[in-house]
Assembly symmetry: C2
DNA sequence: GTATTTTTATACAATCCCGCACAAAAATGG
DNA sequence: CCATTTTTGTGCGGGATTGTATAAAAATAC
């Protein structure tokens, strides 16, 4: 990688291209996205993408790693606020919901949880990145809970991460934001031991279909 | 649909073909599975599949509906055993793990949670089936918890369903069965109020990667 | 026993997708 | 001011996938 090359400098920001490619991957998945789709999404020609990132699979993995790093930063920043246990967990879950509803015009959930899970079954590299992402979530959330005085940070950290996984799937299924926030609040009070069980306004409407 | 046709009867069991097609879809997802793959998986020629089920998307949706019906039966049968709350939730979660590890030689998770979520973002029909599946889970699990005397069946029912979603994703990521069972036990005791928190043997190994 | 109806299997045409090769453009180093 | 190097955009060929059309096979009704 030329630190300061001699030829023509590239006219695009690689990280921004990665972000745009990730948006498209998030909607269509790895197998469902063509190079033409990615070219359209990023505004770059096919050969430019190939030269910068390799083939489609490598580009997909790069978007996963970019998102993993960003989520980890997000979790670390959350720890600097010194919140007590209950509000911390609620903030953790509602912050996830914010991410799942961000970006496109309709809720799409998480790129990794919702699309890498599909590719993981037939692609060991993708499976390893999915595993690494979840391990990072478990580790960072466990750390946050421990710092906030949780009586069982490891077990409860994995349960909080599990709630995030479901919130992503539910967002993708079209559940409205308020319903997800209610679920997040119920889960937060259960895990934090703050027993206003179903106080946050438990799901009144269950059915969708 | 000829109840008893006059011509040649079909030489295959449609439900079994649906099951085999679902196995392949579970591994590769909708976009990642070709008609040749499905022909190989079911042992039927392409035109036979087309005549019986329509195009690839219709076949995929049919496998989703088949699985939805089977899971609902499974949940209803579980209610006939009259288990107390704690063991009921644990049985619910471990039963899910059993399904996620069944079938292929390596854990694959749930067809709907792990692959329909990908397709849902760009296919309204699939999204509707995903939503219907989750709504069914929430409804049936809520019913089970209510019958077992849960103090907050709706809120806790959705949380139990959420744990199933994460267990499916985690199975797909390659987490070993014992680790998932530990997570299931921790979640069950938290939700049931049986406070042997982290007593089931909380996750000692968190990292993977 | 024959005709009819439905399923099965092979083959074909159209489309899409991928990767690579080629020529033009832009900016630095001498 | 010129040459070199890297990026950019267009175009082409190979391969795969989808959907359908056509002929053979099988079983029931008459």
């Amino acid at each position: 990688m030329p630190v300061r090359g001699r030829g023509r400098p590239r006219s695009f920001d690689p990280d921004e291209a990665l972000r745009l490619a990730g948006e498209r991957f998030r909607t269509q998945g790895l197998a469902g996205t063509s190079l033409d789709d990615l070219s359209e999404a990023t505004g770059l020609a096919r050969p430019s993408l190939a030269a910068a990132f390799g083939d489609k699979r490598a580009l997909y993995i790069a978007t996963i790693e970019r998102l993993t790093a960003r989520v980890e930063e997000h979790l670390l920043r959350l720890g600097e606020r010194g919140l007590p246990l209950g509000p911390l967990i609620e903030r953790l879950l509602v912050g996830g919901i914010d991410l799942y509803f961000a970006g496109a015009d309709q809720p799409e959930g998480c790129l990794i949880i919702n699309t890498a899970a599909t590719a993981a079954a037939s692609d060991d590299e993708v499976r390893a990145r999915l595993s690494a992402f979840i391990a990072m979530q478990d580790r960072r959330i466990t750390g946050l809970l421990a710092a906030a005085g949780s009586p069982a940070p490891e077990a409860h950290g994995r349960i909080v991460a599990a709630m995030l996984h479901s919130l992503s799937v539910r967002a993708r299924a079209g559940e409205p934001r308020e319903v997800l926030v209610d679920l997040a609040k119920d889960a937060a009070s259960l895990i934090a031991g703050t027993n206003s069980s179903s106080g946050g306004g438990a799901a009144k409407l269950v059915g969708g279909a």
